[in-house]
């Protein structure tokens, strides 16, 4: 066997070997049993303090790793669920590892603000005490970060504890660099904590301030939900007016299309008004109510 033949044979072995490896990997993947939930949600090996101690000078990088693992953990569960779920309502996903992951990320790098935001947005639906504890820990480590007060205020607001939310917004508003609306939020919480306009203000600020695209997206979807609630109230009023005038509820949207056009509601080809996600609203002529369509991306809860 001369040199050329030997080289060609080796190259052939390498190429065939790589192809065989890829094929075998696909074969094994197709036959791999589903991963047990108890394995994917197995407790972390290291608690936060031990992880910090063992990280030597690499605590920032280790915090990044725990942060990205938190995002992947939540993302994977959302994908597996395959439904239209909101980031702030993931209680059905059994995210048992999220709190320890965020705890490790924030202990390794206490100045890393994004995990606190994630804890404030995602954790309350799973473990509200942990969400409050982690956010308070963030405030202790970063006493001048007004955004953490915004996050803590948001958790209290979600729990309908408007007095606590007002107090937190008030403390945050006193910090140097805090925006003026923090002070306004305090007053709004105290006066009308449960109102739709307060919710709109909260999600508008969250959408403006967040650096996390997922949180921004969640806030924007919540704003769309609020818009849709307003729109449904308006449509309901129109239907009631029609019912009073004609003596019955319209059988379909076409019947009130001229009225919809006068209020400049966007409608589709069949005359149905569109929700903020672009899907047509459904008219229930038996009860004279308006509901979201099946294609709608608007959060229901």
């Amino acid at each position: 066997m001369n040199d050329r033949t030997k080289t060609l044979s080796l190259v052939l072995v390498i190429v065939i070997g790589i192809i065989a490896t890829v094929l075998l990997a696909r074969f094994v993947d197709a036959r791999r049993p589903a991963v047990d939930v108890s394995v994917t949600d197995e407790s972390l090996y290291l608690n936060a303090k031990t992880a910090r101690r063992m990280s030597l000078g690499f605590n920032g990088l280790a915090a990044d790793w725990y942060w990205m693992r938190s995002l992947q953990y939540v993302g994977r569960k959302i994908i597996n669920q395959g439904e239209n779920v909101a980031l702030d309502d993931l209680s059905q996903l059994n995210l048992t590892l999220l709190a320890p992951l965020l705890e490790n990320a924030t202990t390794l790098d206490p100045e890393f603000l994004d995990p606190y935001e994630y804890a404030a947005v995602v954790l309350p639906a799973i473990d509200v005490k942990e969400a409050i504890r982690i956010t308070r820990k963030g405030i202790e480590a970063n006493p001048t970060a007004w955004r953490l007060y915004q996050h803590l205020g948001y958790i209290h607001w979600q729990q309908r504890d408007y007095a606590a939310a007002a107090e937190v917004y008030s403390r945050g508003a006193e910090l140097p660099g805090a925006p003026v609306w923090m002070e306004a939020m305090k007053a709004r919480m105290a006066a009308e904590g449960g109102s739709r306009s307060t919710a709109r203000e909260i999600y508008t600020r969250m959408s403006e301030q967040s650096t996390d695209e997922k949180v921004k997206d969640m806030a924007q979807r919540r704003l769309m939900q609020l818009d849709s609630l307003d729109e449904r109230d308006g449509l309901h009023k129109l239907l009631l007016a029609y019912q009073t005038r004609v003596g019955r509820c319209p059988a379909n949207w076409r019947e009130i299309e001229p009225v919809l056009r006068t209020v400049r509601a966007p409608v589709n080809a069949s005359g149905a008004p569109l929700d903020p996600s672009g899907a047509p609203y459904v008219l229930r002529s038996d009860t004279c109510e308006v509901t979201l369509g099946q294609q709608s991306r608007i959060i229901i809860k």
Binding site: L56, G57, D64, W67, D114, Y118, T211, D212
Partner: protein, 262 residues
């Protein structure tokens, strides 16, 4: 004095050339690949934290790669010359053992300097890429790079000290231990205060002051948040490194001068 300096520079230059010939700087290729991959893909995974992660990853890799070079090249600096018997040719000339050690040390420090500067430029470029333009973190980056370099200089000195009397494998292991314990200096200090027995307190206090306090050179995480160390802090840590290295090299010279190569 001039001749001593000349000889040290000649040995340092040679040590640097040898490191380049040994393809030590090839680690830069790996570093560039790592950063390029991070800059392109990390945005998808990090939830908008690309800049922080680029700095954490870049500076951590700089420290890790640098420590590996300092340990594995550092422990072989003297040993290779003895094994190849080239040390006889060197000492046949008017070269002192101290000059030889200092020259070797400076040669490896020069290699590490080139390494960290290129890596620092790599991190800066990655930041320019992910920020789509100028990023103030690029300015904050360089004091942290300097602190990493000072830490690597200390680790190189420790590796050289161990290699002056021990085998390369043992020297590498001991240097690695010193690197790890050097980052636990805060724990050593608290143990020196909190232990019950006086002997234990003295032991931990002794270890705290004898072993290099490498935790002082860890400024990676604050840098990723846009903080820079003060000039006073950098000057103090640089003075500490200078004094510590001088002591280590003096010890290494003392041990090495007593070695019999016959």
């Amino acid at each position: 004095m001039d001749r001593t300096l000349f000889r040290i520079i000649a040995i340092a230059r040679n040590a640097f050339r040898e490191a380049v010939r040994d393809r030590v700087l090839y680690n830069l290729v790996l570093f560039v690949l790592l950063l390029t991959a991070a800059a392109i893909f990390i945005g998808e995974l990090s939830g908008g934290q690309e800049r922080k992660i680029i700095v954490d990853l870049g500076l951590s890799a700089m420290l890790l790669f640098g420590v590996f070079i300092a340990i594995f090249v550092g422990v072989g600096l003297v040993y290779k010359e003895i094994e190849r018997r080239t040390i006889y040719a060197i000492f046949a000339k008017p070269v002192g053992r101290g000059e030889f050690l200092v020259g070797k040390y400076l040669g490896l420090c020069l290699t590490l300097f080139v390494n960290v500067v290129v890596m620092g430029l790599g991190v800066s470029l990655a930041l320019l890429y992910v920020s789509r333009g100028w990023d103030p973190l690029i300015v904050n980056l360089w004091p942290a790079v300097l602190l990493i370099y000072l830490e690597l200089m200390i680790v190189t000195g420790v590796a050289l000290l161990f290699s002056s009397f021990s085998s390369p494998a043992l020297s590498a292991l001991l240097t690695f231990f010193v690197f790890i314990i050097g980052h636990f200096s805060a724990d050593l200090k608290s143990l020196s205060v909190s232990m019950g027995s006086t002997a234990a307190r003295w032991l931990f206090a002794g270890l705290y002051y004898l072993l290099p306090n490498l935790a002082n050179y860890s400024f990676i995480t604050p840098t990723a948040h846009g903080h820079a160390p003060s000039a006073g802090f950098i000057a103090a840590t640089a003075a500490y490194a200078l004094v510590y290295i001088t002591v280590i090299l003096a010890m290494a010279t003392l041990v090495f001068s007593r070695r019999n190569f016959k």
